[in-house]
């Protein structure tokens, strides 16, 4: 029965429908705008939860597939489907979007209507990226996402918003243009060789792995890798991040750090690695070393930041290094840990940004030296802040640890020295995060107003509690997550391990289409 309902398409386009509806509402009817946008984002989230339950855990290949011819003349299809990797990214996206929209009810005070339209539109494009199985479709969503993001930062951002928005836009564009060139290149040589015009991911994978010469693949991989490396970001392509993170409004921060970053990693998993597996395998050291540099370098920089948002931005940059490292270990545990860590990172970093936002809303400040002793005036806030910090520094019992440990376990198999160096990240993250906690929540503040800040309201608590619960859930009982991620990761490893491409990719691909 479920097979007859295109549930994925509904999830992807429901927010867009919401955006269209909102655009018909007069701009001054705030409560209507709010309820319509929240309703659409929340129903999308509920549908993705439903997806979680109907998803068959042990199947490693794509599910809920749907293919409709799109541009027949060039062979582009509207072709979508998900596996255990994208399932959770979809849930993360819909979850964070709902939270971001609820949070923006109070934090966005100008042009609410336009803001909501852009948020909902952004939601659709992000979801589109995670479901596309057609290269052109993927590229369309990937690029379309830049448009709302550009406006969201450029209109509702902080003081240097224009600079940050343009930098973000251009930097990302540079990468994606190269990727487009690579996509077209594969498309044309495939067409030339087989006479079939298609952007279908599976067909191109089987063609690429079997027929494209090594050297050509190397360049193609680099083109893809650059686009994704900028998005993640991997050192040294990270400098758009602190600017964008600092300038973006808090609700946008959630999606920027929680979801957009994951699109880069996802790009590697879904496209760059399967298309060019042996190249990717050879890139463990270059990318792994860059990731480790990022972990340590980002941590050092985070330690001396005065702006809490910037501190969190650099910490985020530091921690995605672990994810990349896990993915490129090409081990079952490392990659599964990497995927799980994408979710963990999305949750903890979003919680941190929300908390900073709540402080900023109360005081207009967010420098670590502007506060002190908040544990006294805002005990609930401080408790949430501490839990989020502990989650992000990988305290066992909370989500971050499970991901980090699995990643390190996987990387250890490949290279012990690199694991050891990366592990120093757990010391460094404790240093800068606890420093931030001490400066804000402990000690005393000279400013009398700080002592009188009201604690979190019930609404704010309700926004944060789900995130805190997820942190504990994944930390104490990650099985429901792992059991869905692992089969897909295993499938990915099996189909991309050198020496197996030609034999194992095609049969499984054929099976799906029957």
């Amino acid at each position: 029965m479920i097979n007859n309902i295109p549930i994925l398409s509904i999830i992807v386009f429901l927010p867009l429908l919401g955006a269209v509806l909102v655009s018909f509402i007069p701009g001054n009817k705030y409560s209507l705008i709010k309820s319509v946008s929240f309703l659409f984002s929340f129903i999308t989230f509920l549908l993705s939860v439903f997806l979680f339950f109907v998803f068959k855990p042990s199947v490693g290949t794509f599910q809920f597939m749907q293919t409709i011819p799109w541009i027949k003349s060039i062979g582009a299809n509207y072709s979508i489907g998900i596996d255990g990797i994208s399932l959770f990214l979809i849930m993360l996206t819909t979850f964070l979007t709902s939270i971001a929209i609820v949070y923006s009810f109070h934090s966005i005070d100008s042009k609410l209507k336009e803001f909501m339209i852009f948020m909902l539109f952004l939601n659709t494009t992000m979801l589109g990226v995670f479901v596309s199985l057609d290269l052109l479709l993927f590229y369309l969503f990937w690029e379309a996402m830049l448009i709302p993001m550009y406006f969201l930062i450029g209109i509702w951002g902080g003081e240097r918003r224009i600079y940050a928005a343009i930098k973000f836009f251009l930097y990302t564009m540079v990468g994606s243009v190269l990727m487009l060139a690579a996509i077209l290149f594969i498309y044309f040589i495939h067409k030339k060789a087989t006479g079939i015009s298609t952007f279908d991911l599976q067909s191109l994978i089987s063609y690429s792995t079997a027929h494209i010469p090594f050297k050509t693949k190397l360049f193609l991989f680099l083109a893809f890798a650059l686009a994704f490396a900028i998005k993640v970001p991997i050192f040294p392509f990270h400098t758009w991040l602190p600017d964008a993170y600092t300038e973006a409004p808090i609700p946008v921060n959630l999606l920027l750090s929680g979801v957009l970053v994951k699109m880069g990693v996802y790009g590697f998993l879904r496209f760059a690695i399967p298309l060019f597996p042996e190249i990717a395998h050879n890139f463990f050291y270059p990318i792994g070393i860059l990731a480790v540099i990022g972990i340590i370098y980002g941590a050092f920089i985070a330690y001396v930041q005065k702006d809490m948002k910037k501190l969190i931005a650099y910490s985020s940059f530091s921690q995605v290094g672990f994810i990349i490292l896990g993915i490129f270990s090409f081990t079952n545990t490392g990659m599964t840990g990497g995927v799980l860590q994408m979710i963990n990172h999305g949750i903890s970093i979003s919680a941190l940004f929300l908390l900073v936002g709540m402080l900023q809303q109360r005081t207009g400040k967010r420098g670590i030296n502007d506060f002190g002793g908040l544990s006294g005036s805002m005990p609930v806030f401080s408790a949430f802040l501490l839990i989020s910090i502990l989650s992000s520094i990988g305290l066992p019992g909370l989500n971050g640890f499970v991901g980090e440990f699995l990643i390190l376990l996987g990387v250890f198999k490949v290279n012990i020295a690199l694991t050891a160096i990366a592990s120093t990240g757990i010391i460094l993250s404790a240093i800068y995060m606890l420093w931030m906690f001490q400066k804000t929540s402990q000690g005393t503040s000279a400013n009398e107003n700080i002592k009188k800040i009201p604690d979190l309201s019930l609404k704010e608590i309700l926004i944060l509690v789900p995130m805190i619960l997820i942190m504990f859930w994944i930390g104490l009982y990650p099985k429901p997550f792992l059991s869905r991620i692992e089969p897909s990761v295993k499938n990915l490893i099996n189909t991309t391990t050198p020496g197996q491409f030609t034999t194992s990719v095609e049969p499984s691909f054929l099976l799906i289409h029957k």
Partner: protein, 627 residues
């Protein structure tokens, strides 16, 4: 054995109830909830203990799995508890001492505004410690390990308004993380070697795998030891423990003396099967232990802060325990862990009682003549001090001498280890009786209105004082209940010849008596003497007083350069070079386009000219191609 889950769950529950709803609950009820959760936990533990004793020796091992914690393909870590004589003994000590200290806390923290927060943390600590002890695999052990560290962090920084307290908490967490970094790598290496993290699987394979690979055994055990060095405050990672005294005194008694800091000793005892294949690591453990023991005791002799002296004493005593497990005297190490839990908790609580009486004063120079006013505290503290000094008949006597006698028999430098241990014993009794003589003898200082603590505080003192005496009799040389109880866990323990045991007892007794006598002579008979000695060996005195300047050295070597590197990365490298390169690229393109812009003249004639040139070039190209 299912009830074991409740041993851990009850304190967790207590912590949650008190932590979340504490605002709306009366203080008296908070105290009752917190104490009951730990008390019932203790009763269940005692019940399990009796149950185990009644079982045949070879059936005293259980691995109780509750659910799959982290399953990824072939990798599987369960959430399960391992019950054997060692863990049962540990949970008895933990819940027992915790319960007594919870009681004491009700009185000690009575005036505290954040009463509920305190008990919430304390309960959480007990749960974490029990998790650490009961875990049936390394990952769960690590979870408990880090969780106790978190509770320690929270409780050291309990009075968060004080910068020194917040600093100390952070320092403790970070220094512990440095140790945990090694611990984590050790766990990874264990999995890599044994393809499992479960105790039974690892230990049963250990003889087979490690026999041929001494290097791996050494690497694993040294990495694990790094974790132990952090948590149990040994050289070089001990620096956090003296600062940890910023926390409330009952916390110092429970976490920073009786239980958490002994986790390293427990861990080595637990993994002793691995250590047996790594003689180098064993030697390392023993040496770090004895050197720390001596080193910390030497610092303790000149400090003025009662709590800090006792903290250095803890570091020193932990050194003894490491010496014990380092010379393969595992049950002796655990035995000392137990007796130390009693007398050290007692000493800290006595210090707390003194502070309670003298409005928080801990400076020896400002305390004196309290014997008359604090009789219970005085007598119990004397018992604690005697036990710490290893006075015959007290608990410390049996356990310490047990370790030293084993050290004497050690295959490596046994006599050196033994000798330094004996000298340390003399220093130990000196510094502890220095406190007793200064604080309780002489005249009362003006301005103080000391008063004995309430019953809720003195009863725990009396309980612990009794334990600090009779706790040793379970290890009486001939009967030796504790060794027999633990022997199924530690299969190989070297036998002691009774002549060495007697010799050790005699010599260490003489030395510790010497320490007490010296303290008596220095601070009662001839109080001007310490001043004279100070002047004559001013250099040594300053070195000891400033704790060998280790904190300062660490600051210079690690903290300041770290900050400099961070600032360089942030302000120079990232902004000027990396981001500079990005922005320069942008500028470069802009400047170039300014040049190219000039081609776009807007005149039709220019464009026609360019089209013409292009056409000619194309034409030429095709013509040459045809040829």
């Amino acid at each position: 054995m299912n009830s074991i889950l409740f041993v851990v769950l009850l304190p967790v529950l207590g912590s949650f109830i008190v932590g979340i709803f504490g605002k709306w609950i009366k203080k008296s009820l908070i105290g009752i909830i917190a104490c009951c959760s730990v008390g019932i936990s203790f009763l269940i533990s005692a019940f399990l203990f009796i149950k185990i004793i009644n079982l045949p020796v070879n059936l005293r091992f259980f691995d109780k799995v509750f659910f799959q914690w982290v399953p990824v393909g072939h990798f599987l870590v369960n959430f399960g508890f391992y019950i054997d004589p060692l863990s049962i003994l540990m949970i008895l000590i933990v819940t027992g001492v915790s319960f007594v200290i919870h009681l004491y806390s009700i009185g000690y923290m009575k005036e505290e505004e954040h009463f509920s927060r305190y008990f919430s943390y304390l309960n959480l600590f007990v749960a974490s410690m029990l998790l650490l002890v009961l875990a049936d695999n390394f990952l769960l052990l690590f979870m408990g390990w880090e969780a106790v560290g978190l509770c320690s962090y929270l409780l050291i920084g309990f009075w968060f308004h004080k910068k020194s307290a917040a600093d100390a908490g952070r320092k403790a967490f970070i220094v512990n993380r440095i140790g945990d970094f090694g611990f984590l790598l050790g766990i990874l290496l264990i999995y890599h070697t044994f393809k499992s993290l479960n105790y039974s699987a690892v230990f049963s394979q250990a003889p087979l795998i490690l026999k041929h690979d001494n290097g791996v055994a050494t690497a694993i055990t040294l990495l694990l030891f790094m974790g132990a060095v952090g948590k149990s405050a040994q050289i070089p990672l001990y620096v956090w423990l003296p600062d940890a005294m910023e926390g409330p005194t009952p916390v110092s008694a429970l976490i920073h003396a009786a239980t958490m800091v002994t986790a390293g000793v427990y861990m080595i005892a637990r993994t002793h099967i691995l250590y047996q294949f790594a003689p180098i690591s064993m030697e390392m453990v023993a040496f770090v232990g004895i050197i720390t023991a001596f080193y910390a005791a030497s610092i303790g002799t000149v400090q003025f802060d009662i709590k800090r002296i006792i903290a250095y004493s803890t570091i020193s005593q932990l050194g003894y325990m490491f010496l014990g497990v380092g010379v393969a005297a595992y049950s002796a190490g655990i035995f000392h862990l137990m007796t130390h839990a009693f007398f050290k908790a007692l000493l800290f609580l006595c210090a707390g009682s003194i502070m309670h009486a003298c409005s928080g004063e801990t400076d020896l120079r400002k305390l004196s003549g309290l014997r008359k006013y604090l009789p219970v505290t005085f007598w119990t503290m004397v018992i604690g001090a005697l036990s710490l000094s290893g006075f015959p008949g007290t608990a410390g006597f049996f356990s310490k001498d047990d370790i030293l006698a084993h050290a004497y028999m050690a295959p490596y430098y046994g006599k050196f280890l033994w000798g330094l241990g004996i000298i340390t014993a003399a220093l130990t009794s000196f510094y502890i009786f220095r406190i007793i003589f200064i604080v309780f003898r002489g005249d009362k200082q003006q301005g103080n209105h000391p008063h004995e603590s309430p019953k809720i505080m003195t009863v725990p003192l009396i309980i612990l004082a009794i334990l600090a005496i009779i706790g040793g009799y379970v290890g009486l040389p001939e009967l030796n209940f504790i060794h027999r109880f633990l022997s199924p866990v530690f299969l190989k323990t070297s036998a002691l010849s009774s002549s060495i045991e007697l010799k050790t007892m005699l010599v260490s007794f003489i030395f510790s008596l010497g320490g007490i006598a010296t303290a008596w002579y220095f601070y009662i008979v001839n109080p001007s003497l310490p001043g004279i000695i100070k002047k004559n060996v001013a250099g040594l005195y300053r070195l000891l007083l400033n704790k060998y300047f280790v904190d300062e050295v660490y600051e210079r070597i690690f903290v300041l350069p770290g900050k400099k590197i961070a600032s360089f990365f942030s302000d120079v490298f990232d902004t000027k070079y990396i981001d500079g390169a990005v922005n320069e690229t942008g500028k470069w393109i802009k400047i170039n386009s300014e040049q190219w812009k000039k081609i776009q003249t807007g005149y039709l004639r220019d464009y026609v000219l360019i089209i013409l040139i292009g056409g000619i070039i194309l034409l030429g190209f095709f013509i040459t191609k045809i040829h």
